[in-house]
């Protein structure tokens, strides 16, 4: 008895447009459920509509109507809470519009150009925002995040010494929070590892450089294996720094659409599935 049909798995990997579309459909459903707290009734109503239409009537996720319904849900959130929505909510809107255009005119070139430019724009401007933030380029932001356990959280489960330092720093900040800030009290944070100030600054500049380089590389050489290896490195890097899995799933899906190499597609697929599982289990952020 066979337990895995490699032939059909290979066929799925080679149809990367459909693979990405299926993953994006699954993620869109996941996203609607996990963000269902706000405007719950309208969202869940549309969600049921999407699922019922998908399963019973059209039986095909290539029907634009499904994506229009997702777009209505996403736009509804933007209209109600434009300034509250996460950045990847905007990315989902761009991806959904790209999918709708693709399903209407079937032009892969246009679709891939849209995905390519949007991915490049978000990475590039993410780098620009960091570059113009004094708190970021000085390394102060990373220093704070690492010393308060907001980054590299899994390490704290294994290293009790580091965990104790983090807890102590958080207690100090919490105690300070009870004071009137007019007193201008300053506390001294303890470093989880030696020379964290230098490491934080180096890590900050490394992040900016990688984001800008990957952003430019996706426009300049979108098919190059090197571009995709850098992009994968960025996605994996974010994964280990902070569990922003909703955003990472979307980046990995964009990677699937943009890559032309089966092995690279398989890596993106793996990252997308793992990230989506983290979102569903709420281990990571949606």
């Amino acid at each position: 008895m066979k337990i895995f049909y490699w032939k059909s798995a290979r066929a799925s990997l080679s149809d990367k447009n459909m693979l990405g579309l299926t993953l994006f459909f699954l993620f869109s459903l996941t996203y609607v459920i996990t963000t269902g707290v706000d405007h719950r009734k309208i969202k869940l109503f549309l969600f049921c509509l999407v699922l019922t239409i998908a399963l019973l009537v059209v039986k095909n996720i290539k029907q634009p109507i499904l994506w229009f319904l997702f777009l209505i849900i996403l736009i509804n959130d933007l209209i109600c809470d434009y300034l509250v929505r996460a950045n990847h909510h905007f990315l989902m809107v761009y991806m959904t519009i790209s999918v709708i255009i693709f399903l209407s005119n079937s032009k892969t070139v246009d679709f891939l150009r849209n995905i390519q430019l949007v991915t490049a724009i978000i990475l590039f401007f993410s780098g620009i925002h960091k570059l113009i933030s004094p708190q970021f380029i000085s390394g102060d932001f990373y220093y704070y995040m690492i010393n308060t356990g907001s980054f590299f959280k899994p390490i704290l489960y294994f290293n009790h010494e580091m965990n104790d330092i983090v807890l102590n720093n958080k207690n100090l900040i919490s105690e300070l929070g009870k004071e009137d800030p007019i007193n201008s009290t300053t506390i001294t944070l303890q470093n989880v590892i030696p020379n964290l100030d230098i490491i934080s600054r180096a890590f900050a500049w490394f992040t900016i450089i990688i984001e800008l380089i990957v952003g430019i590389a996706i426009v300049w050489k979108p098919k190059s294996v090197m571009t995709h290896l850098l992009f994968i490195m960025l996605v994996v890097g974010i994964f280990f720094t902070r569990l922003e899995n909703g955003f990472l799933t979307l980046l990995a899906i964009c990677g699937i659409w943009l890559s032309e190499n089966h092995k690279i597609t398989a890596v993106y697929l793996f990252l997308a599935i793992i990230s989506m599982a983290f979102v569903i289990t709420e281990i990571g952020f949606h």
Partner: protein, 133 residues
């Protein structure tokens, strides 16, 4: 290239750039925090959640007002996210009913970290003086 073809080819990246442009304007003129507004400025600075909103001269502590008044509670995060004069004024008007005095002062403080000296303190981001009409 005709208009329809241009729209189909570039509407998505143009929309993304437009949203980013609007976000930069909102940051400059509306004091929007870069984390929000769709400009992909997340993780470029400490999250506004950690800003402190301090209201002086209240009859009772601010925490108990938040528990009691849902409108004030939901507006706290908005003020932290966009700490401009208009929002502070609106907040002052909402909480003025709980104030004992004729004027109240609202301040937003943000965390200030210095990696070289390992120090953490808070610095004043904006202050607003409200006088009861």
């Amino acid at each position: 290239m005709n208009t329809k073809k241009f729209i189909v080819s570039y509407i998505v990246p143009i929309s993304a750039l437009l949203v980013i442009g609007i976000q930069f304007l909102l940051i400059k003129h509306y004091k929007l925090n870069p984390w929000k507004g769709g400009g992909f400025g997340m993780y470029s600075q400490i999250h506004y959640y950690y800003n402190d909103l301090i209201i002086n001269d209240l009859k009772k502590p601010f925490d108990s007002i938040i528990k009691q008044d849902r409108q004030v509670a939901s507006f706290v995060m908005d003020v932290k996210r966009t700490p401009n004069k208009n929002n502070l004024k609106h907040m002052a008007e909402l909480v003025s009913q709980y104030a004992k005095r004729d004027s109240i002062t609202i301040q937003i403080w943000k965390p200030s970290v210095n990696a070289e000296t390992s120090s953490y303190t808070r610095e004043l981001l904006i202050e607003y003086q409200f006088v009861k009409p």
